[in-house]
Symmetry: C2
């Protein structure tokens, strides 16, 4: 017979392996077991395993033998406590709590005081000689059980309570006497009967059974599922159920309850932090009717208890070697620990605690590095909205948290307006249905960007992250009218010039002008980063197109540029004219003339980049997007450009129509452009080489979208000729993006000719999964909800699918050329789980946007430690 | 020292392996060697190998040792013939001919009479006692050498000849006497000097060297390269050069020349076929000034020669076991064979000859099956344009030969017009910039389809091939003005109602109404197909959506339906209204109501198909295209539909805008639709099952675009529920398309749940290569010219890239489920090289459009034979 139920003592003894114990007993159960074993005063009880929940989820029945085991453990508990569940003299009361291997607020939390009924309430009353306490406990039990187990709306109970208080003319629950509470109990039972058509169960074993089933059931409720999806929690069996003897903090002045952290979870300060209330139950601390007192004041109130508490807290931290979050209750002078767990903390606190604990010789540097969630660092690198102000403000809508940080400003609806208003010194938020490369300057000028369409890797999102600029994307709830320069959310209309605030870390769009807080990179941060750098083997590069981005990236620790996109350079000022002139030329000569105009600009771009990067390597990708992106789409712009360039509108329209593509993503772009128009490749190669000659840099020239070795050979020949003419024997490298599945499949052929591969996992994901990142927004959320993809494959590399191709290409490439340099420059280069994958498959570096570099450094160190 | 030059005798002796001999000596050289060895009277000579050409192409120099070997062979030839090159008494004259391993009209062909110069012409004159012959030979030599070796325009020589004839007042060359010809020679030499700035070379060894270099050079000329690309000739080293003693058919009445085939190359009739001219050179036969006589008449003129000729011809055919194409010359009563090679033949002849030869016990059935080029069968299955009429007509433009056959009719510019005019009994050609699913009915009604945009696998092309209807696609030279209902090619304008003719096998668009010829499937065809069927192991299915297509396919030998697309069914008549109603419903209930209207139609569709197919398996693919394809795009249509459906224009436009996709190919389609709207899958599954129940069919339900096993599981559950409700325990299958790279990569996971895989190689090619078939037209032609892809990957499966995924998926699938049924239903299912690949990787069947089934049957048989 499989064992599903463990007393707290058995848990510790029978499941030695801590990881396994957490898996089977859940975090809470494992900690209760551990504490019992350590001699910490814990109210006795038992835990029903996550495996039982797993079985229950499948069959909707208790697994075989579980009921007997529960009965047996209950019997032992009754013997141990000398009390019996439902007893008319001295009833045993228990709590029932859920507890998965990872903390999950989405699930059913707690039922307290279980075991009370119309008879045992009298027993409790007699035994405690406190009828009011007994009836209050009973009414609390009915309310909790009714709400969380039976599904009766919480408000229905509140209405009864309000009604009785009003009738009596009092304000607080505490002012109700025993008779009032008996009345409450009667009416609560009616509420249950009316709402559910059945009586509140009097039989304690039924109460227990229903509570256990409710905990099991809550594992699969939509909130819990959504929580797991959002927090990327996968691979768990289910939740455990903890049944524990009740202790009461509300049994008089020598009773009390509280919560505390061994260190400050907000700042990380190494000092006990928490609060308590005397003569109160845990829920009273949360309810906010009485103001809890700082934990340190307990010393005055109950010095012995306080001393015992502090000793145990210190022991627990030393035992777990991490900051603990504890719940305790004092029942008539006796201290009980109800729970201890690793405390949640802010990023600031996480960094400080990790560094402090190394200095305290509690943990080593590797452990410290493993302690900080890389993504949490994001909080430290961007300004944030003032949380208190945010709580009071109106959240207009919620989009995708496309680029973190906060932005506050006046709304504008076009890139030109953004540019204009910003030049007048205003803070503006650029609001667009979607952005396109033409909007780059406006995006630069804006404090933040809000789009109605597009996913986490839409143009707006990618560019904003590159700029380290706050962006909320794909906010479908806002209806933009660009002509009238307004947007609406339900019945609220926001006009041009109105203030809004964006939270790029949550995706929230907030009405009005909220205060923000600037990030502070403390010394601890630097220390942790240094440790990470000493542990990682992956190099960290950045995706940067401008000297400014490059400098930011270096500040954050970039060791090179992994991807410099050259197309953004084509949009600035006079350049776009030359680009359009080139596109509109039917003859080679005309194109060359236009390209000659671009050459000096391009060269200066690269000189700037090379100078900013110093000795660090710089990989420059040749022109990638289809040419139609450089032509206007709007009638108005076509007219304007027609006049500007002195080209008939008809001709312009004809060209736009000729260049139209059904699927631009799969169109005439990347190296295909260079093969059709070698003169473009030639100009870019020349500009790179001239800049390299001037600065002494060793350029890495990257040919995009290669799917066939012959494409690479063709373009390599063009680049090589240009380079040899200018650089003669000076070193330079020519490599390629692996971003087309066929490129990965034939990587061995390509490796024979290429100096390096850089995995363009954005495009590789699109083509391998067969969905465009701009269009997938329509179904990817649903896909995640249904568990088809556990994570958004545009954010976290799809290791099962796309990863196969990355691995295959890396292996095929290295087989042909063992010293082939391998990197990744897709969005995934800054995402921790993807970085771990890159480490495992043997890449040399990851490249990400400047603001994600610290995250990447930490994730790379964690990957190195984990794979030891 | 490597051997580059072989006398004809050495060729046969030293290179025993025939394949290798052809590779090294070229087809012509190998045959001359073979004939020499067989004792056929061949003028002696030698062959310079293709390897020499290969070396020359790289270094632009003769490979080491070659010059010496040429000199040596020439010396032996002079000794053998008792004549010397350039001799003043009795000069040796030679011909120089190119000859690659495959016949290639694009290269330099022939230089005759080499060895003549101002001195040796006199020697020839004396020796033959025929000064006119000698001087005529000399002027012919200068003209040929000047043209093909030195690159002097042919017309310049013709001008001189015309001038001299005019001056003398004669019409034919034959009327010029010796003095006239001396004059011609003088002026020809001046032409050369003026055009090239150098003298016509007098030194015979220089003449020979330059001729050899010219042949080598012609291997790389653009015409030859284009020819190889168009005819998919790859893997050859270069061309060989044949240097052969001249014999003359123009040395009097006992001399003559001719060409002949051992069987009729047009009909296949087993009877000598050819023509000859007495006292003439080969070029005279071609020039058409004198009318050649049928070869049989030679019996009267020179009975001994004829008998010898017939004996040798029979010997050659018996030796090569194939129909021979021979050139011969009779010099003063002595017969010489200049060449023999496998004769080109029409498809009709190929089939008849193959069948006849089996009956004559000359070859076995396997050989017969290997003898017919599968693609050539296409000619036999479609009507064709009358070739003689076509030669006289104006070719307006040339597009892609998207669907073979011929079509003649009056031009219309919209699907509605096509439908209307066709109903009035007119033959119409539908001319569109591109077609969309809305045009289906008009395409059905038209005799042929002409589009300005789109490739070989564009909508128009795919649908037309499916219908067996002539289509010329992507004809960029025609400028269509749909509003004014005209199209223009250069300065020719074609109006609505004008007649045009299409040749779907060549892509030609011809002005006017040409006569056509209907196909005749003779008994030989049936016989060959039976043999093929007995030899092949692959099953052949068809892609068919209607009972009509299904019946056609069965007539051609289809053994099942591999792909029934259901989306076409959504466009007919009332259905499209219900489809739009579904799309416009925001609520599930509304969608279900609309789907309920579609259900009976769908069921009847499937009943029709199942009935047409009888016991044969039918694979039905669930809805695949994105929903926006079912909504109108044109303002006019939006207005109309808005009124028709009583839906506000604004709402319609909003929905169209909501459904807009950046890359529809990678958008919300395939199983993604079914996952978002399970009710669509449910309706289709119900319709299929109801039809199966009614007809007793065992349906194979195919879920499209699966890239993730969980997508498949999700949709399988929906289908299964619908099936079980209707079919109870009756058998049915649920499988998937493998068309997304990720689907192939994770085929092992998918195979656990799927009954079958069908490779959708159209989409798989698009995603693996990263180019959309609708957009790739812009660069794929250039890619083929540059050799980046040898063949259009949308026509012939890209075995190196896409093929890897097919092979991988087949292997992964079979590993998990050894009896997994595997098929292919992309366009490649009807293409011979792809069929061979499918055979090799172990697929169970290929599926193609009805009209390609015979091709597939033959190709499958050839694959089975080749892989033995």
């Amino acid at each position: 017979m499989k064992k599903y139920v463990y007393s707290f003592e058995e848990g510790k003894e029978e499941i030695q392996d801590l990881k396994k114990r957490v898996e089977i007993l859940g975090g809470k159960g494992a900690n209760l077991a551990e504490m019992s074993g350590m001699g910490v005063p814990v109210p006795p009880g038992f835990t029903i395993s996550t495996e039982a929940c797993h079985e229950f989820s499948k069959s909707k029945e208790y697994p075989e033998g579980m009921q007997d085991q529960v009965d047996e453990q209950l019997k032992k508990l009754e013997e141990n406590m000398g009390k019996k569940l439902g007893d008319t003299e001295d009833p045993l009361l228990v709590s029932v709590r859920s507890g998965a291997a990872k903390s999950m607020p989405g699930m059913m939390d707690t039922v307290l005081n279980l075991g009370l009924n119309d008879v045992s309430v009298e027993g409790l009353s007699k035994k405690t000689e406190n009828p009011r306490f007994a009836w209050d406990a009973y009414r609390r039990f009915i309310q909790m059980f009714g709400d969380v187990v039976m599904g009766v709306a919480h408000s229905k109970f509140e209405e009864v309570l309000e009604d009785i208080k009003n009738t009596k003319g009092v304000e607080n629950d505490t002012e109700l006497d025993t008779e009032d509470l008996k009345n409450v109990v009667e009416r609560y039972k009616k509420v249950v009967k009316e709402a559910k058509g059945e009586d509140f169960p009097q039989e304690p074993k039924i109460q227990l059974q229903k509570s256990i089933e409710a905990v099991f059931g809550s594992w699969s409720n939509p909130r819990a599922i959504a929580y797991r999806r959002i927090n990327e929690i996968t691979g768990l069996l289910g939740t455990a159920v903890n049944v524990q003897t009740m202790v009461f903090g509300n049994m008089g002045d020598t009773s009390g309850t509280g919560v505390a952290f061994t260190r400050n979870p907000s700042t990380g300060e190494s000092k006990i932090y928490g609060e308590f209330l005397m003569n109160a139950q845990g829920e009273d601390v949360v309810a906010g009717i009485r103001t809890p007192k700082p934990i340190t004041e307990l010393e005055q109130v109950m010095p012995d208890c306080y001393k015992q508490f502090i000793d145990i807290a210190n022991n627990l931290e030393a035992h777990y070697k991490d900051m603990q979050d504890m719940e305790f209750t004092i029942q008539e002078g006796k201290l009980f620990f109800l729970q201890t767990r690793t405390g949640k903390r802010t990023a600031t606190a996480a960094v400080k605690i990790a560094v402090d604990m190394v200095e305290e010789n509690l943990i080593d540097k590797e452990t410290a590095v493993m302690r900080v969630e890389p993504n949490a660092l994001d909080q430290l690198l961007h300004p944030t909205l003032d949380l208190i102000a945010k709580e009071k403000a109106t959240i207009l809508a919620k989009g995708l948290p496309a680029s973190p940080g906060a932005a506050v400003g006046q709304v504008v609806f076009s890139a030109e307006d953004a540019d204009k208003e910003a030049k007048e010194g205003k803070d503006v938020i650029l609001v667009r249905i979607e952005t396109s490369p033409e909007d780059i300057e406006g995006m630069h000028a804006a404090k933040g960007i809000l789009t109605a369409r597009g996913g986490m890797t839409s143009h707006a999102a990618v560019v904003a992250r590159g700029m380290g600029k706050c962006c909320v994307a794909g906010c479908g709830d806002i209806k933009i009218n660009e002509k009238e320069k307004i947007f609406a959310v339900d019945d609220i209309t926001v006009k041009e010039g109105d203030y809004i605030s964006l939270d790029g870390s949550t995706g929230e769009v907030i009405q009005g002008e909220l205060p923000t807080k600037d990030p502070k990179l403390a010394g601890n941060f630097e220390t942790l980063m240094e440790w990470a750098d000493s542990l990682r083997t992956l190099n960290i590069r950045t995706n940067a197109d401008t000297p400014k981005d490059a400098s930011t990236a270096i500040k954050f620790g970039a060791e090179g540029i992994g991807l410099c996109r050259t197309e953004h350079m084509f949009f600035e000022g006079e350049r776009i004219k030359a680009v359009r002139e080139m596109i509109l030329s039917e003859e080679l000569e005309g194109r060359k003339k236009a390209l000659d105009k671009l050459l000096p600009y391009q060269k200066e771009d690269f000189v700037g980049l090379f100078k900013a990067m110093g000795e660090r390597p710089v990989t420059i990708r040749l022109l990638d997007p289809p040419l139609h992106e450089f032509l206007p789409q709007e009638e108005k712009d076509i007219q304007e450009i027609s006049e500007d360039m002195n080209v008939p509108v008809e001709k312009l329209k004809q060209k736009i129509s000729d260049l139209h593509e059904f699927n631009p993503m799969l169109g005439h772009r990347g190296c295909r452009l260079g093969i059709s128009y070698p003169e473009i490749t030639e100009m870019q190669a020349k500009a790179i080489c001239q800049a390299a000659k001037e600065t002494g840099a060793i350029p890495e020239i990257m040919i995009p979208l290669v799917g066939n070795v012959k494409e690479f050979e063709d373009q390599k020949a063009v680049v090589k000729k240009a380079c040899e003419d200018i650089l003669a024997d000076k070193p330079y490298k020519i490599g390629t993006m692996i971003e087309v599945p066929r490129g990965a499949l034939t990587a061995d052929e390509i490796a024979e000719h290429a100096d390096f591969f850089s995995f363009g996992t954005n495009d590789l994901t699109q083509m391998t999964c067969g969905f465009s990142r701009d269009d997938a927004g329509k179904f990817l959320k649903e896909y995640q909800e249904k568990g088809i993809y556990e994570k958004d494959p545009f954010q976290a590399l799809d290791q099962d699918g796309v990863g196969q191709l990355v691995k295959m290409a890396a292996e095929k490439g290295k087989k042909v050329k063992p010293d082939l340099k391998l990197g990744i420059c897709g969005e995934h280069g800054g995402e921790p789980s993807s970085i771990e994958f890159c480490h495992k498959v043997g890449l040399s570096y990851v490249s990400c946007s400047p603001f994600r570099i610290p995250i990447a450094r930490l994730a790379a160190a964690q990957a190195a430690i984990s794979s030891r």
